[in-house]
Symmetry: C2
Subunit: 453 residues, 2 copies
């Protein structure tokens, strides 16, 4: 046989601790503020929404946080996930670059999201919680929390952004197969949903709105907590198993990345692959370029403002300093529903401000073209979100070719597109376009940012 | 951590040879007959449809047939596939039985089918073939051949059974993403398709009809060959990597199956898991019970006749002695499209006649109920075909409970149901029923069997 194409670690090498980048940052990120007092929030402020163990992770500055055994036991079903060398894709691109991808589509729900959903369900169960509410865009997070709920015996209620609810019936079916309840958002089940529908009955929804609805429901019942699929420190923390494993797999391969790429919506997949490498870099190790790839139609890092803003549309959440398009901004209904979020994770935004990472925005059609080329080379059909990374990888590989450089490129293939095939059908039928947001709506949303500095 | 739940072999342990059960059978299966002369066919008779290397495998009695390096190189992407111990499922069933499953859904196309499609594409490419035609039921085979075509640069034309074509648009999209062309069968592209449509314009199609169409097209062009996804000896041969790996994985586990189950349509998944164990048994090893699980609505082993019959509806194929419902029998349009075939593989049928294996028929609704229970326990949503095995496993596990026996049960989870979620949606909506075939149609189809003995 030829050289390895797959770097596999045995299950004893699943990381024993998550990695917290806060411990290695040159400056701490700006504090999260209470929306009423504008003072930094304390753990107690978050207690209605999250169990204390997750709140402590949210505010922790410890470098390593132990992964509980029951969580690792479930991780063992699909972790360590494989690191692949994409040789056929390299050949198709005729590039001297070496392209590796860490494949998170091997989880039962088909994406990286269970890395956090399993952990969140575990801590909630431990705290005596009976029911979780959440939002979902494309449905990757919703189905992952549904999966975790079925493993831990928790009820799960999911507010799914309406445009995705309609685009992705199979994703909904998956959540229901796992026993969760899935509602199109904005819905009539919450005051925030009803307020939006009153203004615009055909509202396509957004992650910001779905978050408002899920938070509102969770805050009303003692036995119910809220679970967020990205953005928050503890979610990014859970995802670092991706990069931690990849570092060990690069040891096996005797190689190290020059460039690391991940698609970024709320930032958890991106941080998952990038932060462990960035941490090594901050501690004096090699310094790869690190690129967060976002949709041109919802470009929070490349076009947003670094400012305090709400995480949701109804302004029920604390204020976070982040790259934001404004919490009232509604992105167009493009197919990468997991990237339709107005803001970016506080930690990712802070790293961008510090110049530790770059942002890159790519348009929808080029992403699908990239995804099809990748599928025909490697056999794996990427999720529309992941196609953003693939698209950027092609740019990097062609740059390497033009410059005659054999750089090592690593990207996170965050999930497969099995539940998103309608998007591919639409793409082949010529029905997809490069949607753009309304510039005046963006300007208005940015003008409406809270005046906090 | 607790005991292992996943038995993983490294890629050096992908089998180096496929296993041919013919070498170990106490009597050889009855010969395949030429439909004109009724004499045993020779390799030359099959040459219009298959490359000589596959024909030689079809007629081989060698115990081991070497797997070419380029095929193993592609297998390495997902093989060895994992063997899982389904501990949460055992707990949910409250059974003393130990339940293991070999998971073939890890292939890029999501089922066991690429084990053969990759091999078939390799040999065809080597023989200078430019285009392959094939049939597909649920689309698992079609998408797997499309995948193989994209890897080897072959055009692929797929006749997809119309009822599945309509039920499973995502499967179609997958084939197109891999660059194949997919046509609903019966179609107007062939004489056999047109003849069927003339009689019944809304004909739901069947695997037998789709085979006729694919064979007809392949026979017309020199640069085009035909590829079959099950039934034939060489297809079953390629699938034996499943059982060969499982034997090594049971060595790791320090265990051995008492019962082995697989769903059976044409028989390739079933033979893939069963034959290597059966071979050991025939050579004096332990003797597990081996059960082929089929749909109650298309029960070739349990209700069919063991007789010579055609493999297709238009009678373009040779005659094979097998368990058959009659080549003119059209099964009802239930959701496990991969099991809607009137016949059973010649080798599987022969083993059933010899009493080496059992048949078991299970109804559709119990299968979906089983699949949902499995998904909620293990996180993996099985394909509707695989649900037949899960349903039978539950019966076995409950028998073990009733008898107080801690038997070891192994089944092949042939594929995931990501492209079949509409079936789950229909199941939850109460829209599925236990379809049955028309007894008089079956009687007529059996009465019409060729009078050859």
């Amino acid at each position: 046989m030829s050289d390895p194409i797959k770097y596999v670690l045995d299950e004893t090498r699943i990381p024993k601790a998550w990695y917290n980048i806060v411990a290695d940052l040159p400056t701490p990120p700006p504090p999260v503020l209470h929306p009423g007092t504008l003072q930094p929030i304390g753990p107690g402020d978050l207690a209605p929404l999250f169990p204390m163990s997750l709140i402590l992770q949210e505010v922790s500055a410890e470098r390593e946080i132990e992964i509980p055994t029951p969580v690792r036991d479930i991780y063992r079903q699909w972790r360590p996930s494989p690191l692949f060398r994409a040789r056929r894709f390299e050949q198709a691109l005729d590039t001297p670059a070496k392209i590796y991808f860490k494949y998170e589509g091997v989880s039962p729900a088909g994406s990286h999201k269970p890395n956090s959903s399993i952990a969140q369900a575990f801590y909630n169960k431990e705290a005596g919680v009976k029911r979780l509410t959440t939002e979902t865009g494309a449905g990757q997070w919703g189905s992952s929390l549904a999966l975790a709920g079925s493993f831990f015996g928790l009820e799960v209620d999911i507010f799914m952004v309406r445009v995705s609810y309609n685009q992705k019936p199979y994703r909904r079916a998956l959540m229901e197969t796992y026993g969760a309840r899935c509602v199109a958002s904005p819905s009539n089940e919450t005051a925030s949903g009803r307020a939006i529908l009153a203004q615009r009955p055909d509202h396509p929804g957004s992650l910001g709105i779905a978050i408002s609805e899920a938070v509102e429901v969770a805050a009303q019942r003692d036995d119910t907590k809220y679970a967020l699929g990205s953005v928050l420190n503890h979610v990014l923390l859970h995802q670092t198993v991706i990069g931690l494993e990849a570092i060990e797999q690069f040891d096996m391969a005797g190689d190290y990345p020059d460039v690391i790429l991940g698609c970024a919506g709320g930032g958890s997949n991106f941080a998952g692959i990038a932060f462990p490498f960035l941490g090594k870099s901050l501690r004096g190790g090699p310094k790869p370029r690190i690129v967060a790839v976002e949709p041109a139609a919802c470009p929070s890092i490349t076009r947003g403002k670094y400012a305090y803003d709400f995480g949701d549309t109804a302004h029920l959440t604390p204020l976070t300093k982040m790259h934001t398009l404004g919490s009232t901004f509604t992105p167009p209904g493009f197919h990468a529903g997991g990237l339709r979020y107005h803001g970016m994770a506080r930690l990712v935004s802070h790293c961008a401000e510090l110049g530790l990472i770059e942002g890159l925005a790519v348009p929808q059609l080029a992403c699908f073209e990239a995804g099809v080329q990748f599928a025909r080379s490697e056999g794996i059909v990427p999720a529309p979100e992941s196609n953003h990374a693939v698209c950027a990888v092609i740019q990097e590989a062609l740059r390497c070719k033009a410059e005659g450089k054999a750089e090592t490129i690593l990207f996170s293939l965050s999930g497969h597109g099995h539940f998103d095939m309608q998007a591919y059908t639409d793409y082949f039928a010529g029905q997809l376009v490069d949607q753009s947001y309304d510039e005046s709506e963006l300007a208005m949303a940015l003008a409406g940012l809270p005046s906090v500095s």
